[in-house]
Symmetry: C2
DNA sequence: GCCCCTGATATGTGATCACATATCTTGTTC
DNA sequence: GAACAAGATATGTGATCACATATCAGGGGC
């Protein structure tokens, strides 16, 4: 049996990219927070080079914004941008669910039930980090089943940009599930998968995205 | 009156990125062609630094593939990848058309008619470059009307990856329009816009993407 | 004549340096 | 005491260098 840990094989800038990306997704940076290459390099213990490449990639993915010519900040989500993101997500993700419903197998469904239980446990007892990770794990497991690398890439990019929004949403996940009665919406989704009703599954996911966003936008002023 | 040309203000790596991106979209690189940073830097007359950043961005956008740890090539489109791209494009782009139909104005329609005439002229008399540019101009004009930056970004990324496919398709554009009788499909689209029939416009665009792809895939063996 | 080994070349990556300029600090003047 | 200007600092960008290693060529052994 091999007891060696898998050696860290990626290039440094790839690791820095993953590190920053995860930090952004988990909301470890405040939206609008100014980042500088040299500061991040110091914190990560590297030179500026890998950080430069990672940052530029995140800028091209719109997770970081170039302000002037010499100032970069974590992307801010205006109400307008959130509405746009949600509009696009409610087009694409339900369609991915529809595709997944056409290819899903019994073992996939069992796997989804496990992930959903983890998610519900995280929402009940976990911190925001747990909730976000469990939520991502569940939905990306669904999207993986759709077996479309392109779709997965697109959705991944949209979720990266949704980071701060999801962060806020799941910070009060129990409250909004309670108010909307959507606590068991993923169970409904799984049930639709089991019945083989792809259209229903699509509608459920669309409703989930839309209703959550409406609730969030209505409570934005608070 | 200011007679000065607008000074080239962007950073060098941004310009290199645009240069390479355009070259890929226009098919100036062969799919699978090996590219090296140093060679491109020499050709472009810069050091390796700007090229590095541009290349890494194109890799993250899947226009360039990292083969081993030390070899990069222009992305190749397998039949499988094309099918996936088309599947995703037939989901997203008709939806963008649907959104555009709900916001389009008479002046937009006039503009589209101009662009469509240019496209048809390019297909009749232009070279592949002209056809590709005119086609892109027409459809992106439609997508701009949808007024969704996110959607535009997603579609842009899909078109970048479709580069070699579109290149082949438009190389025989007149032939496939003749065989399929789709020469006036954009006129139909504009007509649907004029009637305010968003659903029809969506169906037309969906059919356009699907039928073109089927024709192309059927002729792939030749 | 074919295969494998070894040295040479090529290549991506990371670090450091140089530079222009945006941003902040501080001191001076009214 | 406040406003503005000049110097200092910080920062992104581009070039160059160093290095590990992948890739290739040529020669030697069987």
């Amino acid at each position: 049996m091999n007891v060696l840990r898998k050696v860290e094989n990626q290039t440094l800038h790839a690791r820095v990219y993953q590190e920053l990306r995860n930090a952004i997704i988990r909301g470890h940076f405040a939206p609008g927070e100014v980042v500088t290459i040299r500061r991040l390099a110091t914190e990560l213990g590297t030179s500026v080079m890998p950080v430069r490449e990672a940052i530029h990639r995140l800028i091209s993915e719109r997770a970081i914004e170039m302000q002037g010519s010499r100032s970069m900040r974590i992307a801010m989500l205006t109400r307008e941008k959130i509405e746009d993101l949600i509009r696009v997500r409610s087009i694409i993700e339900p369609e991915a669910v529809y595709l997944a419903a056409g290819r899903i197998g019994e073992d996939d469904i069992l796997e989804l039930e496990v992930l959903n239980r983890k998610l519900m446990r995280a929402i009940k007892h976990g911190d925001v980090d747990d909730k976000l990770l469990a939520n991502r794990a569940f939905h990306f497991a669904v999207y993986e089943i759709a077996a479309s690398p392109m779709l997965l890439q697109v959705i991944d990019s949209l979720w990266l940009q949704s980071g701060p929004y999801l962060q806020s949403l799941f910070a009060s996940a129990d409250r909004f599930h309670e108010e909307l009665g959507t606590e068991f919406i993923n169970d409904e989704l799984i049930e639709a998968f089991r019945k083989g009703d792809a259209g229903l599954a699509r509608r459920i996911r669309e409703k989930d995205i839309r209703v959550s966003a409406e609730w969030y936008l209505n409570h934005l002023d608070e």
